[in-house]
């Protein structure tokens, strides 16, 4: 209810702003025709711009390109105020005409405006630069024509250009069409995120903003791109942020991002240290959230108040890109990108939870759990990407090397009771894990495109290599105390040393469009076929050395049973023949409709070989499964109206049982979770059907776009758990094939409506996800289906007024329900959150932000938990270049934050709470160093 009120408020507010804009400014119009009278024709692509004249400055109100009749026609202009029309056309003198629109007629006709051709003998002083011009098929906006504050960035410039909209969600549209890619001088700028370029680059270094369409394979796939062309000599520069903050409760944060670029090279160095759950997993996260313009209402890199535990994090990283081709094109590019990222994290996690397990006719078991977890992770990651394209050859090489060292200390205490509240058992465990992991991944992709006039239409091949090496040392101390059967009381103190090596190689090879190799292109019209083969080779080696503590000798002794070495080789091959048929129907200038039918005959061959010190694990298995694929695609483009895309696809995959499921070494220490084996296990077969639909508005104004997708998985012989629970909560788990059908159905939908008002933008969106699954399980021999349902709906509305006010209202609602018909049990939980975020730029130097989220959690058998999280901040900018920022933030003002565990699986249901970040106040000082262009020598 509260959510609806918030959204209603936002909608009313937006409408009110729009109406008041119309009321305060009476509207007038001006028209005219631009003509070259000497040569006797009208000028069809002349630029006409209208400025409001004031003693201090002229403000651009609107611009137009003259139409096929040489005419311009401006509406929505102020009455009775001095205006100026400037007309530009290549090869002509600039024409300036001052006028004002009388209030009584509300319209003025300037009739024929005569343009005079520029001759080479006459030198002209350029009085003004046209704000917009057409250069070939590129629309160009000249930055110099827009007067802005000296500290303005590209985003401020874009906001000044009529018909370009920077929306609340950072999407950029030009005449209603979304920009899909933004480049600087034709190249990706520090990873390609728009914000890095638009919120850092100074408006003063920009020569032009260029907007153009690129066709990927045909005009229907063309996308709208934006390129920021820098002024000559300004292709060099640096920018970044250095900031540090200190807060109450021992909270601190430090962020650093220093970046430099030249025509061929980009280099960035980032670092972040904090204890406020503000986590970055890569260089880009820090880079995109350290922009000069400021983060606004963006939420991707902020203290995470919903995250469980408190994390102290240190991170440092660097990114380097080198373009061997200074001006890359679609046909020629050669780029190397290398990144390094290091992170060091300490996390303290504490949780208390209650788990209820149904046992059919028997009593339910209720566990009260207390978990404490301390972990430290040190991770290094180096990755690189090399792209080379020349004519019809393309090569991409991706590499990554990761080293992770982690230490984990998990303490668990669990007390189990029955429905009569009588204690039945107690489990306590300490797990101390030291892990050292090195992994290397390589992927090479080569694509040979079609050569002019050749029968052979090209090939594509991908090779990937993954090498993983993990060394783990684990100490497990377990006490199990049974109050029902004192004989089953057990105590373990066991050490595990695991050495795991895994080498994975995949080779995909495809020969496409083979028809013309064998037949005349006119034969079997619309049909085509391709051959592909996916070969996977996996070699895994696992060595385990297990030692048990002997209290008598106070020594750890070798555990002969669990100590083991296993080698597993798996070969998977999937040859496929794909036949496709396309049917096209089009009516020029009216519509294009395309149907594509694909039918693939694929066969999976899998051979698995296990060699172990334990003879019973020497198992060889082979699987063979016909895995057909089929799909139908339909696209319908109605010119000037909409584009619709439908897809229906079907495919088959199999999941083979692992050695761990077939014949494991049974570790008795996991008393509440003893995994047993089953040699009779078969592979499970998954048949998947997907249906999707997408609607794209092509009208270009106040667009409505939506899409939805269904995904159905139907599992045959699904491997499920058969759980045997003793009265004192000891559990033995056997994997078994389910002879009943298991299935998963999911649905998601997105709807987005955008409204461009005169000086503001309003967007409303609805996202929904729905999942339903039916899983089987055995509990003490009794078979049960568990019907699970989960759904999430999120409605959000976004309002921006110039760059002064940004408001976002969101309502999310998620629920799940779990039903075990055989045991007549049912659990459900509901989580709802209403958020109202606002950002108000009081002056050019002061910004206020506030975020309030009202949370409500309800679940079966527990009381509702409600809390409100309110964060607020005030930012002040200092110095001439606004380079210094002082920020005061108050987080969790109401001191109500909490983190809820509300979870269910096929056999049980858990509710509880975790430790989270709570109220603190912080003062942060940041400095934004920035300079563009070569330094001039004095």
């Amino acid at each position: 209810m509260r959510a609806c009120a918030c959204l209603l408020f936002l909608t009313l507010f937006a409408t009110q702003v729009a109406l008041s804009q119309q009321k305060t400014e009476a509207l007038g119009s001006v028209k005219g025709i631009v003509r070259d009278t000497a040569n006797n024709y009208v000028l069809k692509s002349a630029t006409a711009s209208v400025y409001k004249v004031s003693p201090q400055d002229s403000v651009l109100l609107s611009y137009q390109i003259t139409n096929t009749y040489g005419e311009f026609n401006f509406t929505n202009l102020p009455l009775n105020s001095p205006l100026k029309l400037i007309v530009n056309n290549v090869g002509y003198h600039v024409l300036i005409k001052e006028f004002s629109i009388p209030a009584d007629t509300k319209a003025i006709n300037l009739k024929t405006l005569v343009m005079i051709e520029r001759t080479t003998s006459l030198k002209e002083v350029v009085i003004s630069i046209p704000p917009i011009s057409m250069n070939g098929d590129t629309l160009e906006f000249n930055a110099a024509a827009f007067k802005l504050d000296s500290n303005a960035v590209v985003e401020d410039l874009l906001r000044k250009i009529p018909n370009i909209v920077v929306w609340g969600d950072n999407t950029i549209t030009v005449n209603g069409r979304e920009i899909k890619k933004l480049t600087v001088n034709g190249k990706d700028f520090f990873g390609g995120n728009f914000k890095v370029a638009t919120q850092n680059l100074s408006k003063n270094v920009v020569d032009k903003v260029q907007v153009f369409r690129t066709a990927i394979s045909n005009t229907l796939d063309s996308t709208l791109n934006m390129n920021i062309k820098l002024k000559k000599g300004q292709e060099f520069g640096y920018f970044g942020k250095i900031g540090a903050g200190r807060g109450t409760d021992g909270r601190y944060e430090t962020d650093m991002s220093i970046n430099a670029f030249s025509p061929k090279m980009q280099l960035g160095i980032v670092a972040a240290i904090n204890n406020i759950n503000k986590l970055a997993n890569n260089v880009n996260t820090i880079l995109t959230n350290s922009t000069f313009k400021g983060v606004g209402t963006a939420i991707e890199y902020r203290p995470d108040f919903s995250m469980g535990g408190i994390t102290r994090s240190k991170a440092i990283g660097t990114t380097f890109t080198y373009n061997f081709v200074e001006k890359p094109t679609y046909y020629e590019r050669n780029t190397l990108n290398v990144n390094y990222f290091f992170r060091d994290r300490d996390t303290e996690n504490a949780s208390t939870a209650k788990t209820i397990t149904a046992r059919g006719n028997l009593d339910k078991i209720i566990d009260d759990n207390i978990n404490n977890n301390f972990s430290n992770t040190l991770g290094h990651k180096v990755d690189s990407k090399y792209e080379w394209t020349e004519n019809n050859h393309a090569l991409t090489v991706n590499q990554s090397f990761i080293n992770d060292k982690s230490q984990n200390n998990i303490q668990t205490l669990s007390r189990s009771r029955n429905e009569q509240d009588l204690a039945i058992s107690e489990y306590s465990g300490i797990n101390a894990i030291d892990e050292n992991r090195n992994s290397y991944n390589l992927s090479i992709n080569y694509l040979m495109g079609q050569k002019q006039g050749k029968k052979f239409k090209g090939l594509s091949t991908t090779y990937t290599l993954g090498v993983d090496n993990k060394e783990e040392k684990r100490l497990n101390q377990t006490d199990f105390l049974s109050f029902i059967n004192p004989l089953s009381t057990q105590r373990f103190n066991r050490k595990y040393n695991t050495d795991l090596k895994d080498v994975d190689q995949v080779l995909n090879f495809a020969l496409n469009d083979l028809k013309t190799v064998f037949f005349d292109w006119t034969k079997f019209y619309g049909f085509d076929f391709s051959l592909s083969n996916d070969l996977k080779l996996n070699h895994k080696r696992e060595g385990n050395v297990i030692e048990d503590f002997n209290p008598a000798t106070s020594m750890y002794e070798h555990n002969q049973y669990l100590t083991n070495n296993v080698r597993t080789n798996t070969t998977e091959d999937a040859p496929a023949l794909i036949v496709s048929k396309s049917i096209k129907s089009s009516l020029s200038d009216r519509f294009n409709k395309d149907w594509t039918f694909r039918l693939g005959a694929k066969h999976l061959f899998i051979y698995q070989e296990n060699r172990s010190d334990k003879a019973f694990q020497n198992i060889n298995r082979s699987y063979s499964q016909f895995a057909p694929e089929a799909s139908i695609n339909y696209t319908n483009r109605q010119w000037g109206k909409y584009f619709k895309y439908y897809q229906l696809s079907f495919n088959t995959s199999i999941k083979t049982p692992t050695l761990q499921q077939l014949a494991p070494l049974i570790d008795s220490t996991s008393i509440t979770n003893i995994q047993q084996g089953n040699l009779a296990l078969l592979a499970s077969i998954n048949r998947n059907i997907q249906i999707s639909y997408r609607h794209e508005d092509q009208t270009g104004k106040n667009t409505l776009n939506y899409n939805f997708a269904f995904n159905l998985n139907y599992l045959h012989n699904n491997i499920i758990d058969s759980v045997l629970i003793s009265d004192d909560n000891r559990r033995n788990i056997y994997p078994v094939n389910d002879s009943h059908a298991n299935n998963y159905l999911s649905f998601n939908a997105n709807i987005r409506k955008a409204l461009k008002l005169k000086t503001s933008e309003f967007q409303i969106g609805l996202t929904t996800m729905f999942g339903k699954s039916k899983n089987g399980a055995y509990l003490n021999g009794a078979y049960t289906f568990s019907d699970n349902l989960n759904a999430t709906i999120k409605l959000n509305a976004n309002f921006t007024y110039k760059d002064k006010i940004a408001l976002e209202g969101a309502q999310s609602y998620s629920m799940y329900s779990l039903k075990q018909a055989a045991f007549n049990t049912k659990f459900n939980g509901v989580l709802s959150a209403t958020t109202l975020s606002s950002s108000y730029r009081v002056t050019k130097k002061i910004t206020l932000n506030s975020d309030i989220t009202f949370n409500r959690n309800t679940s079966t058998n527990t009381d509702a938990i409600n809390f409100t999280l309110w964060n607020a901040s005030a930012n002040f900018r200092f110095l001439k270049g606004n380079n210094l920022e002082l920020k005061f933030s108050a987080l969790d003002l109401l001191r109500q934050n909490s983190s809820i565990i509300n979870d269910g699986s096929s056999t049980n249901f858990t509710v509880g709470t975790r430790n989270v970040l709570t109220q603190y106040f912080m003062t942060t000082v940041s400095y934004y160093p920035r300079h563009f262009g070569k330094k001039t020598k004095r």
Binding site: L43, Q452, R590
Partner: protein
């Protein structure tokens, strides 16, 4: 297969070979014209045309078609071939639908021409390897399967002399761009190429294939600015056009840029340069022609009419609408910079010139028409009144002035 090669032709590059055995090209009366596309004069519609008529082609579920791939006018019918619906449609001169011939869908385009000279009462259709003859009521008169498709290689047919002009004519291990034949006997052959040129060149010829200037056909070649006349007697070089250097290809272009990638790279970087001429035809004192190239800007001057008497150059994009055309432009050039892509001129026959405008363009031109009080004729008024974005194209019939 040959059709396939022809299609590939349009995707490859051309390669000229000099000093081949070829017939004489008459250059005795060649005129050199120096033209500057930056120095054009504007004319109104009524200064260039005597008559203008907009003929909305009736739209019914039966008569719906995509675009006009070939137009013929004969015996009071507009005859239109449409490759989108694979149909030949016949409309009366008022635009009302008469009948249509639905052809079997084949992987490539079908072709047709009027036969039964000089009465033009029959349609000869080649659809793949099937030849069909229809009368103008749409009745099938004859059907025959053939082994090889040669139809498309006939460029022109001189009726009284019964001479066929063929292109890509193979003889003496060479391919001749143009050859004239009578009763399968070669009268003359010109512009020879090495035999493998088909697999490595790109044909940019878009001559106005269906211009009916009696006993004359104007012809242009890629990457040059010459206009030739093909007649039963031979080939004449009539006009040698010279443009300012910023519009001209560099010397030795075809030898220095001898493959597709080099050429497309050059033309992409030099978008202003004309890559050749297209669709030439002569009407009275006017020589009409298009300049080929990568056009993309609205209002760009690429299609011209040159007055051979006054030596003034008119860009078709600058022809100003006036009362004769109800203040509507008579072509869609102003909206579609690439005129030939939006249909161009379909036919010039018996002193009438035919083009067409798509329904979306008609709407845009009407909405932009500054003369809001214009009174359209009844056909146009009815068309705009019952406007639908799915309507058929509107045919524009123009009669160019003689002087």
């Amino acid at each position: 297969m040959k059709k396939a090669l022809y299609t590939l032709l349009t995707l490859s590059t051309i390669f000229f070979v000099a000093n081949a055995q070829e017939d004489y090209i008459d250059v005795s009366k060649t005129q050199t014209l120096r033209l500057d596309p930056r120095q054009t004069r504007g004319l109104t519609v009524s200064q260039l045309f005597d008559e203008v008529k907009f003929v909305p082609l009736q739209t019914t579920p039966e008569s719906l078609f995509g675009r006009i791939s070939r137009l013929e006018v004969a015996n009071n019918y507009y005859i239109i071939s449409d490759q989108d619906t694979h149909c030949i449609l016949l409309f009366n001169l008022d635009g009302s639908f008469k009948t249509k011939i639905k052809l079997e869908k084949k992987p490539y385009n079908f072709e047709y021409r009027l036969i039964d000279e000089p009465f033009e009462t029959k349609l000869f259709v080649q659809n793949g390897l099937t030849e069909l003859t229809y009368d103008l009521t749409g009745k099938l008169l004859k059907k025959e399967d053939i082994k090889q498709n040669e139809f498309e290689k006939i460029l022109y047919y001189f009726k009284p002399e019964e001479i066929e002009v063929k292109y890509e004519y193979i003889s003496d291990d060479r391919i001749y761009e143009i050859a004239a034949l009578k009763d399968d006997k070669v009268l003359y052959k010109v512009f020879p190429h090495e035999k493998d040129f088909i697999s490595k060149q790109f044909d940019l010829r878009t001559i106005l294939k269906y211009a009916n200037t009696p006993n004359e056909l104007l012809y242009t070649r890629p990457y040059e600015y010459n206009i030739y006349t093909i007649s039963p007697k031979g080939v004449k070089l009539d006009y040698k056009l010279i443009f300012p250097s910023e519009f001209s290809l560099p010397e030795g272009f075809t030898t220095n840029y001898d493959n597709y990638i080099k050429r497309s790279d050059f033309t992409n970087k030099n978008r202003k340069i004309f890559q050749g001429l297209s669709s030439p035809f002569k009407s009275g004192n006017y020589l009409f022609f298009g300049a080929k190239g990568l056009v993309s800007t609205r209002g760009e001057k690429r299609d011209f009419a040159y007055n051979l008497k006054t030596n003034s150059l008119v860009a078709l994009v600058d022809i100003e609408p006036d009362a004769l055309s109800y203040y509507l432009p008579v072509t869609s050039i102003a909206l579609n910079p690439e005129f030939s892509m939006s249909g161009g001129f379909h036919l010039f026959k018996n002193n009438y010139l035919y083009t067409s405008i798509s329904t979306l363009d008609m709407k845009a031109l009407k909405d932009q028409n500054p003369n809001k009080n214009v009174k359209y004729d009844s056909a146009l008024a009815k068309y705009f009144e019952n406007y639908k974005s799915t309507n058929n194209r509107v045919l524009v019939v123009l009669k160019p002035k003689k002087d």
